[in-house]
Symmetry: C2
Subunit: 193 residues, 2 copies
DNA sequence: AACTATACGGAACGCCCGCCCCGGTTGTCG
DNA sequence: CGACAACCGGGGCGGGCGTTCCGTATAGTT
C-alpha cells in the first residue's frame, strides 16, 4: 500500500468538516448545490474539497454510501425480528422517511442523475440483498403480494419519498399508506394502527 | 389589439416546425435539451426560436398546455361515461401512459423544475377540476377510498410515470397496478382484467 | 529556531447554455 | 420588377459551475 506517512492534523480536520457540511447541505438542498457553496460553508477553499475528493460525485458517493450502509444494517436487523410483514412495512416507512429528510439521498434513490450506482455498486447491492430478504420473508408470510420484486419495491420507496416531499405537510404519509396498501395481497388490508 | 398585418408565410411555417420538433425532442429527451439542439433539428437558427417564443419556458409551456388541454378533454369525456370507477382508473392509466411516453410532460407533472404551474395555471386548474370530478364520482360509487384528494392522485400519476420509466420494460405496468390497488377501498380488489 | 513536505485558498480555465443582436435574405405588395 | 419591411441565421455575451494550478502558509521534525 502507499501509506507513506500519516496525514497532517489540519487535513483530517478539514476532511471531516467538509464531509459533515456536505452531508447537511446535500440533505437540505439536494445535489445541485455548487461545490463552492459547500467549501464556503465549511470555511475552506474549493481546492481543499477537491484534494480530499477527486470529484463532486466522489464526495456525494462517500456520503451516500455511509447512509446506505446504515440503512442496510437496519434492514438486516429487522429481518430477524418477529413478524415478517411488520418488519417489511416498518422498513418501507423508515426508508421513505429517510428519503424525505434527505433530499440528496432521495434524488439518488429516485435514480436522478449521478452515477452513484456505479461507484457505490457494492454498497447498493448490499442494500438490494437485504431488501430482497425482507421482501421474500414477508411474501412467504402472506403479508405482501407475490407479483413484485425488490426492484419495484425500491422504486416505490424512492417514489414515495419524492411525492411526499412534493405534497409538503398536507396529508403526511397518505401516499405511503396508499402504496403500502397496494403492496398487500388482495383482501388483506390492515386497519389503522 | 396589435394586429397590424398577417405574419409572413415562412414565419408561420417555421413556428409550426419549431413547435413540432420541440414537442418530439422534449418528449424523447426531457426538458434539459438545449434550445440550440431544437433549432438545429428544426433547420433554423436559435434566434428564430426566440423570436417566436420569448423564453425557453414559454416554448415548453405552449407545448404542455396543448397536451394538458387534450388530457382534460379526455377526463371530461370519461366523466360522463358509464361506470365511475372504471372511468377513474382508465384515466389514471391513460395519464401514466402519457407521462411515460412524454418525458418532458412527465417531468412537468412530477413538478420538476420549470414554473409551468405559474404560466399554465389556467390550463392546469382545468385539469385539476376534471380530475376532482372524476375522483369524487368514483368515491361516491365506492370504487376509490375516501381519504385521498385530487392533489394526491395527481402526484401518484406523475410518480407512477417516473417509476415505470425508471424500471424500463421489465415488469411493465406493475407499479401502476399496485398503486391503483392501493387506491381502492379496503377489501375491494378487482381480479386481473 | 530552522527546514521541508504537506496542505491551503482562491483566482483562473474551459465548457455549457439561455438569450440578444446585427448584417444579410426573402416574402409581399404596388 | 423593384423596394421595403419582416424575418432569418448564427456568432457573441453573460453567468454558472466543475475542475485545476500555483504561490503561500503551516504542521511536524530535528
Amino acid at each position: 500500500m502507499t501509506s507513506g506517512r500519516p496525514p497532517r492534523a489540519d487535513a483530517l480536520r478539514n476532511r471531516a468538516r467538509v464531509l459533515e457540511v456536505a452531508h447537511e447541505v446535500f440533505a437540505a438542498e439536494g445535489l445541485s448545490v455548487p461545490i463552492d457553496e459547500i467549501a464556503r460553508r465549511a470555511g475552506v477553499g474549493a481546492g481543499t474539497v477537491y484534494r480530499h475528493f477527486p470529484t463532486k460525485d466522489a464526495l456525494f458517493t462517500a456520503i451516500v454510501v455511509a447512509r446506505i450502509d446504515r440503512i442496510s444494517a437496519r434492514a438486516r436487523s429487522l429481518a430477524t425480528a418477529g413478524d415478517p410483514g411488520q418488519a417489511f412495512f416498518d422498513f418501507f416507512a423508515y426508508m421513505v422517511a429517510e428519503g424525505i429528510a434527505n433530499k440528496g439521498l432521495g434524488e439518488a434513490l429516485a435514480g436522478a442523475g449521478v452515477d452513484v450506482e456505479a461507484l457505490a455498486a457494492a454498497s447498493d447491492q448490499e442494500l438490494q440483498r437485504a431488501l430482497a430478504d425482507l421482501l421474500t420473508r414477508a411474501q412467504r408470510a402472506g403479508a405482501v403480494r407475490d407479483d413484485v420484486g425488490p426492484r419495484e419495491v425500491k422504486a416505490l420507496m424512492g417514489g414515495c419519498a419524492t411525492m411526499e416531499r412534493q405534497l409538503g405537510a398536507s396529508a403526511p404519509g397518505r401516499i405511503t399508506t396508499i402504496t403500502c396498501d397496494g403492496l398487500r395481497p388482495p383482501g388483506a388490508r390492515t386497519p389503522p394502527g
